[in-house]
């Protein structure tokens, strides 16, 4: 089962996304701030990270950098969900290694489709790598 780590300081949004993803059949882990997020990033297993940008202790961009700097987490996909919509921030998030960016308010259906697509593209890439190795 695909595991998803949600990092979001807004309690309502955190619970809402958790409920939607759990209903869609994913295994969901949550973190309420940057500190808790770093702890879970380092110690838990997950396939996708969904992170907000503005949070206490560490912002979403730092979360993206942390995941990308860990060679064991290369397979992890990152989706940034934020109400920040300026070009520089979005570009910076992608530059640091985010795979997708959703601007709040989000559409639940869209989030699910994007997660599905990321999982598909990751499995595609890993299948290719296996074939190459063979």
């Amino acid at each position: 089962m695909t595991s998803i780590l949600i990092i979001e300081d807004d309690d309502i949004m955190l619970k809402a996304i958790r409920n939607i993803l759990t209903k869609a059949g994913y295994n969901v882990l949550t973190a309420k701030d940057g500190k808790e997020a770093f702890d879970k990033i380092d110690n838990e297993q997950y396939d996708i990270v969904i992170t907000d940008l503005m949070m206490p202790y560490a912002n979403g961009l730092e979360v993206v950098s942390r995941v990308r700097s860990d060679s064991r987490k290369r397979h992890v996909s990152i989706i940034v969900v934020s109400s920040v919509g300026n070009e520089e921030t979005i570009t910076e998030a992608f530059r640091l290694g985010a795979d997708d960016y959703l601007k709040k308010p989000i559409m639940a259906g869209e989030l699910l489709i994007r997660i599905k697509k990321l999982i598909e593209s990751r499995s595609h890439t890993s299948a290719k790598l296996v074939t190459k190795k063979k």
């Binding site: 807004d10 309502i12 949004m13 619970k15 809402a16 409920n19 939607i20 209903k23 709040k104 308010p105 989000i106 559409m107 639940a108 259906g109 869209e110």
Partner: protein, 383 residues
């Protein structure tokens, strides 16, 4: 015991009358201070108690409301199967006795608004449907009748967030309220809710649109979908409200309304030089070449603020016809700002002619002017 106390107070009062005046005043102050302190402590205690009760209530009801919204909206099975308008909520879940209480209904509204800020699409629409089906609009409308302006603002914000129409008769007077916060909230709501004539309140606005409110309105106007943008020259020509005219000039420039140029040109004859400066700024941003001659003609009779705007406008229009004028201002003006803006405008032309002129100026001018030119040539400095 009571009679002893009454006697004590009575004798104290009798003795009080025989005390020297300054002692009487000092005693009066002491009593007032003790009384005020007691009242203050009483108010603090009461507020803390209210806060504690509210916290308890919230801790009890919030999870229940969130669970109800999660079940009825976020995890609603019908979301994928049918249109939002056709989805019916479970009556048992909505008709819970506790949801009839006013304070619980307010919590539901607050939570629904928080959800609406985070979700759009079908989930957003279903949240709105829940708001309507629970008849929470009535609660929001009731707040509109309150005499307290904070409650009125809350009402306006709730109805706007839930995309519920407010009649013009109700909201238009609020857009002109003497209370700046209420006025701003009503104006923001009017633009978001009125699809056909979102700027109708400009017609009746006698109260100013404060600079911060202009920023907020500008954000709403430029980010609200399907908003009908009118020709703002209408208010430039006829409004008697200075802040409306000034704001419309900014909107004309933003939406590049070329048809408004004649109305903006008329403002150059206005007695208020702040108006004229705003109008010149707008003409520059519209790249109104037709205005150039007139701007040069009036230049010498204008105050510094307008002169600077004229120099900037010439740089923005950049027709190349008035490089000589800019050169003269750069070389012979004693005012630093004028020289700076003249240099910037020459550089802004970015034509072979202007580049040659800059090279020439570097040769013939003095050290300070050369510094101004190299400063203006720095691409990191915004113009």
């Amino acid at each position: 015991m009571w009679s002893n106390l009454t006697n004590l107070i009575y004798s104290a009062y009798e003795q009080f009358n025989y005390l020297p005046l300054f002692i009487e005043i000092a005693l009066a102050f002491i009593f007032i201070a003790i009384f005020a302190t007691l009242i203050a402590y009483g108010v603090i205690l009461f507020r803390r108690w209210r806060g504690y009760v509210d916290e308890k209530r919230m801790a009890f009801i919030r999870p229940r409301v969130e669970e109800m919204i999660t079940e009825q909206v976020l995890l609603n099975e019908n979301l994928e199967k049918m249109q939002v308008a056709e989805i019916e909520f479970e009556p048992a879940a909505l008709n819970d006795k506790i949801y009839k209480k006013e304070w619980v209904r307010q919590i539901i509204i607050d939570i629904l608004i928080q959800y609406r800020k985070n979700f759009r699409g079908e989930v957003g629409e279903l949240l709105r449907k829940l708001y309507l089906d629970m008849n929470l609009t009535k609660d929001s409308y009731d707040k509109m009748k309150s005499l307290k302006w904070e409650r009125k603002i809350k009402s306006v914000v709730e109805l706007t967030q839930m995309d519920v129409q407010i009649s013009d008769v109700t909201i238009l007077p609020l857009t002109n309220s003497t209370n700046p916060a209420l006025r701003a909230a009503a104006r923001n709501a009017y633009i978001q809710l009125s699809k056909n004539e979102p700027f109708k309140f400009f017609d009746i606005a006698t109260e100013p649109i404060l600079p911060w409110d202009q920023l907020e309105l500008f954000k709403i106007i430029t980010t609200t979908k399907d908003i009908a943008i009118p020709n703002f020259s209408r208010w430039v020509s006829y409004s008697t409200n200075k802040s409306v005219v000034s704001f419309c000039l900014k909107l004309i420039a933003h939406y590049d309304q070329q048809s408004a140029i004649p109305a903006v040109l008329d403002l150059l004859a206005n007695k208020d030089h702040y108006f004229r400066a705003d109008a010149i700024n707008c003409l520059g941003k519209l790249s109104a070449e037709v205005a150039e001659e007139r701007l040069i003609r009036i230049y010498n009779t204008q105050p510094l603020a307008c002169q600077l705007e004229i120099l900037k406008a010439l740089g923005r229009i950049a027709s190349g016809k008035h490089l000589e004028f800019l050169k003269q201002e750069f070389l012979y003006s004693s005012n630093f700002d004028i020289r700076m803006n003249a240099a910037r405008s020459i550089i802004k032309h970015n034509t072979p002619g202007s580049r040659a002129l800059i090279d020439e100026l570097k040769e013939i001018t003095h050290e300070e002017n050369r510094l101004i030119i190299s400063h203006c040539q720095n691409p990191l400095i915004k113009y």
